[in-house]
Amino acid sequence: MSARNRAAGSAKTEIGHLEDIARTIRARIIETSHKTNTPHLGSCLSCVDILVAAYFDVLAIDPAKPRDPGRDRFILSKGHGAAALFQVLALRGFYPESMLETYGQDGSLFAEHPPAPAYLPGIEAATGSLGHGLPLGLGMALAARIQGLDYNVIALLSDGECNEGSIWESAMMAASQRVEKIAVVVDFNKWQATGRSEEVLAISPLVDKWRAFGWSACEADGHDLAALVRLMRDVPDGSGKPVAIIAHTIKGKGVSFMEDDNNWHYRIPTAEEVVAAKKELGVAA
């Protein structure tokens, strides 16, 4: 996989297909949360479209060769979105979907955060402590330069995660090293665990912050699959700078009674709520 070998299929039908996948993933996350008492539902739902756009379109990856040296790397820096990533990786074929039946059980690989890559195909980094994924990804991007490989690195951050100083340390180094084959997508759902991200630590103006740190930054609707695909496909974007995509999202996206309600950072849905959510998503019970 030395060259960029992404499929350039007909855009409209593909986006419809991605939307179907996103609905399915959302339903599975909600079901799993109910069955296994896994929290962070709101955080998982807000980043589903970003994950689907990346894994089902943008990334040059082959589930049959999860350790291919030339593969694109996607790092879920907001490790508490693991419940979403686990579903995406299974559906993408990195491991059988039946493996997810062990979710949350004693001895299972599927915890609330991703394990180290050695333990589960498709995982690039064990995250969960915030602020780690971008430095790891930057190391991977610099390794590509040293080794003459042509892959991209995408790190998905939460807005709360931008509280961490290590994110900004890494942002400065990526800029000084002119690493253009790395992109950050910030799942900007305006909430963190205990409050509005704007109120906890003044996060605004987030796009300007990334620009000031030397990145080519843009804003996007984080639930517009076509826009996400276009922007992530466009890395490197020709500016000679690392790319930051500030994706405006809605925490709990896809289910009316979960949207923008931070109680769903930790709340677990009841059986009735699962049924109602699936009905809204248009996914069969």
Partner: protein, 308 residues
């Protein structure tokens, strides 16, 4: 030791294209040769050690062999979580080098002292902890660390440390080196305290006490074979380290002793006390303050022998 490190890492970088050097905004000129001979593989990561450690782990996960270098507290306590998660949990083969360790930078104040580094890094699964005695051990340790498929922490001095070895000893990680034979007592020294331990052994010798001296360069994994030998063979074994008496080599050996059961030898520990040294002073001053002098060590061993 600094210069020996720069020279050896350059030599290794020249022959091994996997070797990458990351520095936390120090030693810039020191690495001019590395930069020239391992082009594109030197990174000044700035004063941003958490990121530097994460970057190193990311590189290691892609098959490179990063060596991270800065002043000891900043490459250990400052970014401990990155070492724990990014390096150790991922079993990333990163070589972490702390320069000016122990009391090397006594005159720079407690922010630059490091008497806890071995204690905290020793707790991390899979991490090897090495304190070379001199430039020769440092060079050999670096070579061996590169062969190891996992993380290594190495604490080194600054410059001008006396040489212990006239020629290359048989250096293996986890295998202590006997630098002087003896029959009455044993000094287990780690890191740059070796010359002090040798002087202490000479003083003891003048008093008719034949003293064995070990350069116990690897604090983890412990050389249990040598420990079993000296703790069953001598009445007194003294650990000498420029590190706190909590959690360093003496700490590790105490844990080993507790698990092993009672042995013949009683354990003496020479290291820094449970306090910060706030006043200014040279490394020699600081060592005197903490009783890390040849005279004090010799006196302590002789007294323990009399009591045993």
């Amino acid at each position: 030791m600094r210069n020996a490190f720069a020279d050896e890492v350059t030599r290794l970088g020249e022959t091994d294209p996997r070797v990458v050097l990351l520095s936390g905004d120090i030693g810039n000129k020191l690495f001019d040769k590395f930069k020239a001979r391992a082009r594109g593989r030197f990174f000044n990561c700035g004063v941003a050690e958490a990121n530097m450690m994460g970057v190193a782990a990311g590189m290691a996960l892609c098959g490179l062999r990063p060596v991270v270098y800065t002043i000891t507290p900043f490459t250990t306590t400052r970014c401990f979580e990155q070492i724990r998660v990014d390096v150790c949990y991922h079993k990333a083969p990163v070589i972490i080098v702390g320069t000016g360790s122990g009391l090397s930078y006594a005159d720079l104040g407690p922010t630059h002292h490091s008497c806890e580094d071995m204690a905290i890094l020793r707790t991390l699964p899979g991490m090897a902890v090495i304190a070379p005695a001199d430039s020769t051990e440092l060079r050999l340790a670096l070579r061996e660390a590169l062969k190891r498929d996992g993380p290594v922490y190495m604490r080194i001095g600054k410059k001008g440390e006396p040489a212990i070895h006239a020629s290359d000893p048989d250096f293996r990680i986890g295998r202590s080196i006997t630098i002087q034979a003896g029959t009455d007592a044993c000094l287990i020294s780690t890191g740059v305290m070796a010359p002090v331990a040798m002087t202490a052994a000479r003083i003891l010798g003048e008093r008719g006490i034949s003293t064995r001296v070990e350069s116990f360069h690897t604090v983890k994994p412990l050389d249990e074979k040598t420990l079993a030998e000296v703790f069953s063979g001598f009445p007194v074994v003294a650990v000498v380290e420029e590190h706190g008496r909590i959690g360093g080599l003496a700490g590790g050996i105490s844990e080993w002793l507790a698990a092993t059961g009672s042995m013949r030898a009683s354990l003496l520990s020479f290291g820094t006390a449970d306090t910060f040294m706030h006043e200014v002073g040279s490394q020699e001053y600081a060592r005197r303050k903490f009783g890390l002098t040849a005279e004090n060590i010799a006196e302590g061993v002789a007294a323990r022998l009399r009591a045993s």
